[in-house]
Symmetry: C2
Subunit: 406 residues, 2 copies
Amino acid sequence: MPPKRTTVRDLRRQNRSTLLSTLFFDGPLSRHELGARSGLSAATVSNVTGELVEDGLVVEAGSVDSDGGRPRVLLRVNPAYGHVVGVDVGETGIKVELFDLGMTQLAAVEHNLSPADPVSVAELIASGLAEVVAGVPASTVLGVGIAVPGTVEQGPAAIVHAQTLGWDGVPLEEMIRSAGVALPLYVENGAKTQGQAEMWFGAGRGARHVVVALVGSGVGAAVVTDGAVYRGTTSSAGEWGHTTIVYGGRPCRCGSSGCLEAYVGAEGILDRYQRARGSRHTPASDEQSGVDSLIQAAATSKTAARVLEETAGYLGAGIANLVNLFNPERIVLGGWAGLALGEHYFDRIVTATRSHSLRHPYEQTSIALGQLGPDAVAVGAATLPVAALLDRGTDPRKPLSHPHIA
Amino acid sequence: MPPKRTTVRDLRRQNRSTLLSTLFFDGPLSRHELGARSGLSAATVSNVTGELVEDGLVVEAGSVDSDGGRPRVLLRVNPAYGHVVGVDVGETGIKVELFDLGMTQLAAVEHNLSPADPVSVAELIASGLAEVVAGVPASTVLGVGIAVPGTVEQGPAAIVHAQTLGWDGVPLEEMIRSAGVALPLYVENGAKTQGQAEMWFGAGRGARHVVVALVGSGVGAAVVTDGAVYRGTTSSAGEWGHTTIVYGGRPCRCGSSGCLEAYVGAEGILDRYQRARGSRHTPASDEQSGVDSLIQAAATSKTAARVLEETAGYLGAGIANLVNLFNPERIVLGGWAGLALGEHYFDRIVTATRSHSLRHPYEQTSIALGQLGPDAVAVGAATLPVAALLDRGTDPRKPLSHPHIA
DNA sequence: TAGCCTAATTTTAAGTCGCAAACTAACTTG
DNA sequence: CAAGTTAGTTTGCGACTTAAAATTAGGCTA
């Protein structure tokens, strides 16, 4: 409630964070360049980077000639400073991946688990974590990001609501703790972590206002406003898939009707195709191959082509709603179905977006396909502890108190 | 581009801003209480408030006993420190209103002007301004907020796109300057200023994530995220009225079809009613009385009742989209038509909202009617220079440089 | 009315911070 | 190897917030 005061020490933390983040995202830089980018004086840069180097967060990385003067010493974030783990909790199993601070994958394990009992999942996460972390000193693991397919209520401990898993108010964070994990945990919605991955390493790089629209079995979006993923009051913002696009239209699994997901989600697409063909029982082996073969079929089948074109229309209108409401500078279309559709029907989607957007916001935005596949969910999750590190400028495990330089 | 560095002076500015804002919004407070709320030490509070008092921004306002000790001296923002002007540019005329810093209206003028030629509007604003400001010393006017019914492209000078006025890329700010106004100008979309008014003085008070949904002839929304009106890349965010709610539905004046505005905007409601009755030519004297009499008619006419109930349904679905996307803690329904509908069909709107929202975000939000009428647009505009004052902690006319205490 | 008590402000004495200016370091050139 | 350049450090200072000590300002008591 009290608008946190600002003390003189916050200055240092903030500048530390700024420099560290600049180094992280813009690769090796000299102190000089760092000063230019951050606006800080050379003296301060020198001072702060000195601390960062002393703490082991930053290391020197060769040097570069500077025509006719002292060569610049390049600095970069020390990839070996620590490790982070990303966990992707999916509907059929979980993936656990270990990265260093350079976001290089060092290890990964995958476990299937159909009956998604929360306790088993928590235990599976704990054991996967133990497996993956085995190769590195325990003390170097800075935190664990956990992506779940549902909304996450952030609070003293994260609570998960995931309809597709049948979870309603599952205290996942506590459960993982009970399974014996003592590391900092960051539980977040999978669409948001994937969006974060696109922002850091994919099609969203460099932009500050982005909407990452994800279409797969489910439909969701990660809204990035001013560089940060927007969460809303209880961090369930961005539920694009269940916005109404056809009032009174197709029933949706969420219980409502006319949701975007009921039209452009994989199940919705396939079901619409079945109905268009008149047949009712062609259970595709799985959704992903079902959509693939539908796209194949469009080459020869008019019905298939029409269904997909309609899909592009709905999708464009859905994207246009995001354009009108958020006025982003960039839209990134991702998710496996989104990428598949985007590859074959990009123009049509763009056209539909244009025709349903107001001219002005439409002209300010560009539409791009995501550069990362659905695998990005785990990397995105792993960025959460890294983001905490960059944000605080220090090991997120340390309590935020007097640094007390020894 | 460079992530603005933080210097030790920013600290002071920020703390000054915090204290000033706290005083502005939370009424007279003692230095003690101020320290408690801001987290600042008593010493700093004393120091900063001393400056504020010296600058005339804050004045003492009586004192309060404190059981058995030195009584607390109350401080409050000095309403007489300066004046601000709010301008409401409407489709048929403009309103210019003068306020003191306590937001008490001191003067107001209204001019009609049907042919909305931008140059005449600019001149009308300039002359209205002169009229209204006549009673106070010129040097006390801190700035002028100007609300327009269209999107505003913020930049070195604001550009206005207002379809209903036939404006497309009108450099209104420059034009007003050319008309001889030298004061700081803040041009903003009218929905956003009205939203700001509800946030400061109306149904949005105290909340940080709010969507103010405005339904009148047009339909728009002001989205407040973390206490500030969200603007997007080029500040045209929040165009709720032109989001698609019925894919392939009624044509909208924006050129698209199925927009929310085509269903719940006044014109849309009345037109749907005409069609439902089969008659085509009952040109209501004006939209506002048309909607009023439609609501009257609903008591006896089944058709009228049905149209309004359907309207409540569409509106609820539209609100649900905002709930799903933004996860606000509060929804404020306003605008003249929104208030009229809300008064008679509140339950139905809420029901429709619930049935189209995901359960979790719906449960986190509350829906309330706006407390301010459409008159609030001008007050909202007037808050813009005040916001600049609170934000900077100093007269917004002064360049932001060394304070150099004399 | 003098003296005591309590609680609100102000002063005072550190301890931090970023900055400009003055230096030092490390090369290139002629 | 002296002069010229560019990178990075050190030094001294002004600006800040804070904790602690000192100073009000009423209310009460004797």
